[in-house]
C-alpha cells in the first residue's frame, strides 16, 4: 500500500467497507446471477411487483429499525398489525360510509397505542424488551382471536378495492395491461424517507442512537428516556398499523393468523441490513436493502424454477452467508481503522 494519501484511501476503504455498500454489491451480484439464469426476472413489471409485495414487510422493518437503534427490541409488532387491521376492517364493515381518511386513521392510532403500551411496560418494569414483547405478542393476538373468534373479514367498500392499483408511475405491457409504481410502494418509500431524515437530521433521531449506544450516558445527558422509548415503540406501532393497513389494502381481506409468526422475516431483513441487535447502529438505507435482498431472493427462486422444496435451504444459506460477510467485513474495517490511527 502506498502512503501517498492515506486519508483518501481510508475514506475509500470506509466506503467499501460500509455495510450498505457491501449489501448493495451482494444484491447486485445476486441480481446479475438471477438474470443470467432467467432473463425474465429483470423486467420492470417483475421489479415493480417485488416492490409491492415487499412493501408491508418494508414498513414493519423501518419501524423495527427505530426500536433496534434505540436499544430496544419488539417481536409483538405482527400482533399489533393484526389487531390494527382487524379494528379497521371491523369499523369499515360496520360503517361502510365512513370517510376514508377516518377509516385509515384507525389502524395507525391502534398501532401507536399498543406500541406505547410496550414502551411503558418495558420502562416501568425495567425488564428485557424481548420478554415483554413476547408476552404482549401472546396477549394481543390471543385476546383478538378469543374475542373475535378469528372470523375473516372481507367485502370492504368500493374505494378500498382499487387502492393498490393506483399507480404513481404507470406503463402498459404488451397485453395492454397497466402496471407501474403503486401508491403503496410510495407509502413505504415515504416512511423510509421520513425515518431516514428523522434519524439523521433530527435531534430526536440522534437521541435514539445515543440511547442505543449507551443508555446510562443518555440518561445523564438529560434525555427523557421514557419519552423517547414511547417515541420509538410508538413509531414501530405506527408502522405496524400502517403495514397492517397496507396488507389489508393489497389482500382485500383480514385474516388474523397471516402476519403473526412471521416476526423473524422482518428481524432477519433488518439485521441483514446491518442494524446491530444490541442497539445504537443501523441505517434506513441498509434496512431497505436488507428487505430488498430477501424479497428478491424469494421472488427469484420461483422465477429461476428452483423446486419449492429447496427454497428455504437457499434462503437460510444466503442469510447465513450475508451475515457472515457483513460481520467479517465489519471486523476487518475496525482493524483497518485501528491500524490507520495507530500510524
Amino acid at each position: 500500500m502506498t502512503n501517498k494519501n492515506p486519508g483518501a484511501q481510508l475514506r475509500l476503504q470506509r466506503f467499501f467497507g460500509q455495510n450498505e455498500t457491501i449489501l448493495l454489491l451482494v444484491l447486485l451480484a445476486m441480481v446479475t446471477a438471477i438474470t443470467a439464469v432467467s432473463p425474465r426476472f429483470l423486467g420492470p413489471e417483475n421489479l415493480f411487483s417485488i416492490l409491492l409485495s415487499a412493501s408491508y414487510t418494508g414498513i414493519f422493518a423501518i419501524g423495527f429499525l427505530l426500536v433496534l437503534v434505540s436499544g430496544g427490541l419488539d417481536v409483538s409488532f405482527t400482533a399489533v398489525a393484526t389487531v390494527a387491521q382487524y379494528a379497521m376492517g371491523t369499523v369499515l364493515l360496520a360503517n361502510p360510509d365512513i370517510s376514508p381518511a377516518l377509516a385509515l386513521l384507525i389502524p395507525l392510532l391502534v398501532g401507536m397505542a399498543l406500541g406505547s403500551l410496550n414502551a411503558l411496560l418495558i420502562h416501568y418494569l425495567s425488564a428485557p424488551p424481548i420478554i415483554i414483547t413476547i408476552a404482549n405478542l401472546n396477549i394481543f393476538f390471543g385476546l383478538l382471536q378469543f374475542i373475535t373468534g378469528g372470523e375473516w373479514l372481507n367485502g370492504f367498500p368500493e374505494w378500498f378495492d382499487h387502492f393498490p392499483q393506483t399507480y404513481v408511475l404507470s406503463f402498459e405491457n404488451a397485453d395492454g395491461v397497466k402496471y407501474g409504481l403503486s401508491v403503496i410502494v410510495m407509502i413505504w418509500l415515504a416512511v423510509a424517507v421520513v425515518a431516514g431524515v428523522l434519524m439523521h437530521y433530527f435531534k430526536a433521531g440522534r437521541k435514539l442512537y445515543a440511547m442505543g449506544g449507551n443508555l446510562e450516558a443518555a440518561r445523564r445527558a438529560g434525555i427523557d428516556i421514557l419519552r423517547y422509548r414511547i417515541f420509538a415503540y410508538g413509531f414501530l406501532g405506527f408502522c405496524a398499523g400502517l403495514g397492517g393497513m397496507v396488507h389489508t389494502l393489497i389482500t382485500q381481506t383480514v385474516v388474523p393468523n397471516t402476519l403473526v409468526g412471521h416476526e423473524f422475516d422482518v428481524v432477519a431483513a433488518v439485521v441483514l441490513g446491518g442494524a446491530s441487535i444490541f442497539g445504537g447502529s443501523g441505517t434506513v438505507v441498509g434496512t431497505v436493502l436488507g428487505v430488498g435482498l430477501l424479497a428478491v431472493l424469494s421472488n427469484a427462486l420461483t422465477i429461476m424454477k428452483v423446486p419449492t422444496y429447496w427454497h428455504e435451504v437457499f434462503v437460510g444459506a444466503i442469510v447465513i452467508l450475508s451475515i457472515t460477510i457483513t460481520t467479517l467485513s465489519a471486523l476487518a474495517a475496525r482493524n483497518r481503522e485501528k491500524k490507520y490511527h495507530a500510524q
Binding site: N46, Q165, T251, T258, S298, Y309
Partner: protein
C-alpha cells in the same frame, strides 16, 4: 318422555379441529351444535391456536384426561396423533377422526369427500377452464399439510393420467393459506412460465390471491384460477371472472352430518348401520372409514347457498 330427567345419559363430545379461530371450523362447530340442540350431547371445542401437529397431540392428551364419551379429531398430521389416539381408545373413549382415512387408532373416520372423486372433480373443473394443453401449477397451504398434499396428489394423478398434454411446470408451491403469498407466487409463476394455462389451489386463501394476481396482469382469459375458496369470499371474484371455479364442501352441513354419525355411534349403532345421512344422503363404509361426498362446485350463482 316418562324417563326421569336425571336418568338421561348426558354425552360429552370434545371436538379437536386442526386449529381454532378460522371460519371453516367455526362453521363446522356450529353445525355440530345446531344439530345437537335439545339432544343429550354436549360439544366442546378444544383446538390449538396454530396448525402445529405437536400442539394438537398435546391437546388430545389433555382432552383424554377429561374423560369425555367421545373425541373427534381433525388431525393436522395423522401419524403424529396415532399414539395419542391409542391412549384415548385404551381409556375407553369413542375416538373418531375426520379427514384421516389412514388412521389406525380410531373407531371410525369420517370422510366428507371421496378422494378419488375429489381428484377427478377438481381436475375436470380445472380442465374445463384451463384447457387440456399447456402448463399448470398446484399450490397448497403448507408443504407439510398432509390433507392438502393428499388432495393435490389425487388431482395431479388424475390429470397426468387423463390429460397427458397438461404438464405441471414446477413442484408444488406453498402459500395457499395466505392471500398475499398466493398473489405473489402466482405473479411469479406467470412471469416464469409463459406456457402457464392455470393454477389449482388447495387451501382457501389461494384462489383469492390468484384471482387478484391474474386481474392485476390482465390474464384472466389465459390463466385459469381454480381452487377451494370460501364461497362468501369467492363470490366477488367468481362474478368478475378472475376466479373460474371453486370446489368445496359446506362445513356447516358437514358438521351436522358428522354430528349425526357421532350421535348414532354413541347410542350404540354400528358404523355399518348408520344409514343415510340427513344432509348428504348416501354414504359408504369401508373398514372403519365412513365416506360421504360434500364437496361441490361453487359458482357465482350458488355461492350464497353455502352459508359461509
Amino acid at each position: 318422555q316418562s324417563i326421569p330427567k336425571a336418568k338421561i345419559k348426558q354425552f360429552s363430545v370434545i371436538f379437536v379441529p386442526k386449529l381454532v379461530g378460522v371460519p371453516w371450523f367455526n362453521s363446522m362447530t356450529k353445525g355440530f351444535e345446531d344439530y345437537s340442540k335439545g339432544s343429550n350431547i354436549k360439544y366442546t371445542v378444544s383446538g390449538a391456536a396454530n396448525t402445529d401437529p405437536a400442539a394438537q397431540a398435546r391437546l388430545i392428551e389433555d382432552a383424554i384426561a377429561k374423560k369425555p364419551d367421545c373425541i373427534l379429531v381433525v388431525p393436522n398430521d395423522t401419524a403424529v396423533i396415532e399414539p395419542a389416539m391409542k391412549k384415548g381408545m385404551a381409556a375407553g373413549i369413542l375416538m373418531l377422526t375426520s379427514e384421516a382415512s389412514t388412521i389406525v387408532n380410531a373407531y371410525a373416520d369420517i370422510e366428507f369427500f371421496i378422494l378419488a372423486k375429489e381428484g377427478k372433480d377438481m381436475a375436470d373443473i380445472f380442465v374445463k377452464h384451463a384447457g387440456t394443453k399447456g402448463g399448470y401449477a398446484v399450490m397448497v397451504g403448507g408443504l407439510t399439510n398432509q390433507g392438502h398434499n393428499a388432495r393435490a396428489d389425487a388431482a395431479v394423478e388424475y390429470l397426468a393420467k387423463n390429460y397427458p398434454d397438461l404438464k405441471q411446470v414446477t413442484t408444488r408451491l406453498e402459500g395457499s393459506e395466505n392471500v398475499q403469498e398466493a398473489h405473489d407466487k402466482t405473479l411469479q409463476l406467470i412471469t416464469a412460465y409463459p406456457e402457464l394455462v392455470g393454477v389449482l389451489y388447495v387451501g382457501s386463501a389461494g384462489p383469492i390471491g390468484g384471482a387478484q394476481a391474474v386481474t392485476e396482469k390482465g390474464v384472466q382469459k389465459r390463466v385459469a384460477i381454480v381452487g377451494s375458496a370460501v364461497p362468501s369470499q369467492a363470490k366477488k371474484y367468481l362474478l368478475d371472472g378472475s376466479l373460474k371455479a371453486s370446489y368445496i364442501g359446506n362445513p356447516y352441513l358437514i358438521g351436522k352430518d358428522s354430528a349425526y354419525i357421532i350421535e348414532r355411534m354413541l347410542s350404540g349403532v354400528k358404523l355399518e348401520d348408520v344409514g343415510n345421512l340427513p344432509q348428504f344422503g348416501a354414504q359408504t363404509v369401508s373398514g372403519r372409514v365412513i365416506t360421504f361426498h360434500a364437496d361441490a362446485e361453487v359458482s357465482a350463482a350458488n355461492a350464497d347457498s353455502f352459508g359461509f
